[in-house]
Symmetry: C2
DNA sequence: AGAATAGTGTCTTTAAGACAATATGGC
DNA sequence: GCCATATTGTCTTAAAGACACTATTCT
């Protein structure tokens, strides 16, 4: 079955940077590296990931979905390819290439079962642009790249909507955007912006509390994120 | 030297979508697939690329630079990672992963030597969103993805500047932008836009012709592309 | 002078930002 | 009524678009 390829092949893996909001904080899912001898970075925290399995996986996205499902039991969250990292030194075992993805999990799915039950998986709170844990391989670089991509895309797309549950109010949506960009947004401008694209659809339901009830919405189309016409705040040069 | 990896490894290659302006037309560099038996897509046109060489290449970007240099003799053009394609079926030989890059060559370097001398390399003219040649593997998809990325980035970055030679006039820069976006741009708005970021620096030279001489400029910094505050034209929803 | 392209100025339009005003439920 | 949050409106600001006008060199 082994075909003469002409070149010795590098290792090939897929990693997934999984984001979710836990207690109104942006978090990333980490797994503990196995303790077996021969394994690099034994017992260290790492991103969710693993080798491409030529028998199980039809393509690299399948590998990402498989790994995601293994650790979170979530099937189809927002999943986007981030980029690839490959070098002679990133894995002590051999020349190694990893294709990185990032995923956004809705609140309830993120905290469903899995957690508490599994000591080898945890949500790390993101503070500023980092987490307290050290990460195996070049996973810190990959994580930071994913965070940067997410933060950048918040400025001009509807990405944060994927972090909410099915029904949400505009205030909740705004709060989610604010958590990601890390600053307060103007209510009025935010609403105009959201309404300028076909992102949300009001439903016949309201969220009640100790104040005026708020209109509940669902995402109009769950598929692709929408692009706004301008960024939230002018990009600073230099 | 072969280490127990636990998993049979996929093939791992790098492809580079190389763009340049030839005779004021956006073009992409193609190479002819080898004719030897055992080779897939014999004699078909393909993107520039090849397998990662664990001995020669320190990382995947090195592979891209090596392949670029082999075919164009250009050392350091604008080079950006585009994404990865990997599946069981994209290469008849085996499960295969390719990491795609795209590069922008300045005019004179693109047409330097190499061409005419080598029957196995040619510039394909891009018309609309495609080229006339059929391409090997999934290279058409990769090419289209690169073109889409380039076109998208023109709307809010200074990318086209990398397609020009060292010295250029604002009109030439505008024309380059227009070729990529595929529509005419307003001269006044374009100039305001360019001047709003520190993209170009005037030099003590002028381009003369049968009309008023034009101020020549050079790129202020050759490193990263700059981001404008808005896209050129509102993105259409739907 | 006339052609041709370079470069500038003025007005309009679009969408974001600031801030205020009004709306509506629970208590 | 009062509080708290929802929702809307009005004015300002920043940058793109339309269009016209001026500038400079060559023939």
């Amino acid at each position: 079955m082994k075909i003469k390829s002409g070149f010795p092949r590098p290792l090939c893996s897929v990693d997934v940077v999984i984001f979710a909001l836990i207690n109104s904080k942006l978090c990333v899912l980490l797994t503990k590296r196995p303790l077996s001898p021969n394994e690099p970075f034994r017992g260290k925290w790492a991103l969710v990931g693993g080798f491409v399995d030529k028998n199980l996986d039809q393509d690299i996205k399948s590998t990402a979905i498989r790994k995601l499902k293994e650790k979170t039991n979530v099937d189809t969250p927002y999943l986007e390819q981030l980029g690839s990292w490959g070098s002679a030194t990133r894995d002590p075992r051999d020349w190694s290439v990893t294709i990185a993805f990032y995923a956004l999990l809705p609140k309830t799915l993120a905290t469903k079962d899995k957690n508490g039950t599994n000591e080898n998986v945890k949500w790390a709170v993101i503070q500023g642009s980092s987490i307290h844990e050290e990460l195996a391989f070049d996973h810190m670089e990959i994580f930071k790249s994913a965070l940067k991509r997410l933060r950048s895309k918040v400025e001009y797309t509807s990405l944060p909507a994927y972090l909410l549950d099915e029904k949400f109010t505009l205030s909740e949506l705004q709060k989610t955007f604010e958590i990601i960009v890390g600053r307060k947004l103007e209510k009025s401008a935010f609403r105009t912006r959201i309404n300028s694209v076909n992102l949300v659809t009001p439903i016949e339901e309201y969220r009640t509390g100790s104040n005026r009830p708020a209109q509940l919405y669902v995402l109009s189309k769950k598929s692709e994120p929408l692009y706004f016409k301008r960024t939230l705040k002018p990009v600073t040069d230099e």
